[in-house]
Amino acid sequence: MTSTVSHNVINGNTGVGVLIGGSIDATFQNNVISGNGQYGISVSLFGVFGLKVTNNTALANGTLDLNDPVPNCAGSVWSGNTFFTANQSCIH
């Protein structure tokens, strides 16, 4: 069963804006995630399954705007996002 996280404003948090851990079937769309101290959106090192991150605006976050530590973003689809910095070319 899919979870949806949409149209939230996640700004100015001292650590990570959105932290996604473990196995999850979720869609993140149309959120604004800016000015957070570390990552804007970050996936757990343990990876995810069925994650879609689309059409979000993530700007000026401290470490990276978007972060997927899983090689080639396996298990996740990143598309249509507006951002400055990301750690992999599979993040769009």
Partner: protein, 184 residues
């Protein structure tokens, strides 16, 4: 007259069967919700010494009605949806409403869901907590139009495997049965 009589009979039957239920107003914390229904925050709350509002049954609609829940001394989580065994279903936590810290007092989580299926959180602002919205082992969530500001982590989504707790409970029951059987 006949249509009016029919309407009265219908209303009477609804009341008798318990279909029509008045909302419950929340004026103080800690507050534990143990019965399904509608719950409305009726005042601004200062919650310390543990969790503020705890939901441990399913089919609950909690509306903050524009009020504020402020962390007091020893505050833990402002709103928790969780129960010791099993999975909660159909929980709605609705704004507008503000969950905030006060001075050195902060909530460990603004809204915390654990083993919940089918939940909605919308229109809530969480300010200055350790985690704004935190979920674990929950699925089919709708988290929309919230504002997470000046927390440590805005939104933290954990595993989406609510069936794990059921499996754990079953194993516990099996061990208990074995212990009872051993002296025979």
């Amino acid at each position: 007259m006949i249509p009016n009589r029919k309407a009265l009979v219908c209303i009477g039957l609804l009341v008798i069967t318990g279909t029509v239920q008045a909302a419950t107003f929340i004026n103080a914390c800690p507050f534990v919700i143990t019965s399904p229904g509608d719950y409305l925050l009726a005042a601004n709350l200062m919650c310390g010494g543990g969790d503020g509002i705890t939901i441990n049954t399913g089919n609950v609609r909690l509306a903050l009605e524009g009020h504020t829940i402020t962390a007091g001394v020893g505050a833990k989580r402002a709103i928790v949806a969780s129960k010791q065994f099993g999975v909660l279903q159909n929980v709605r936590i609705l704004g507008p409403g503000l969950i905030t810290n006060s001075g050195a007092n902060a909530f460990s989580a603004g809204v915390f869901l654990d083993f919940v299926v089918n939940a909605e959180m919308s229109g809530i602002t969480v300010l200055g907590a350790l985690g704004g919205i935190v979920t674990g082992d929950s699925s089919n969530l709708t988290i929309t139009a919230n504002t997470l500001w000046q927390n440590n982590v805005g939104i933290s989504l954990g595993d989406a495997v609510p069936r794990f707790r059921k499996m754990t409970s079953a194993v516990t029951a099996q061990v208990f049965f074995t212990k009872i059987s051993a002296p025979r």
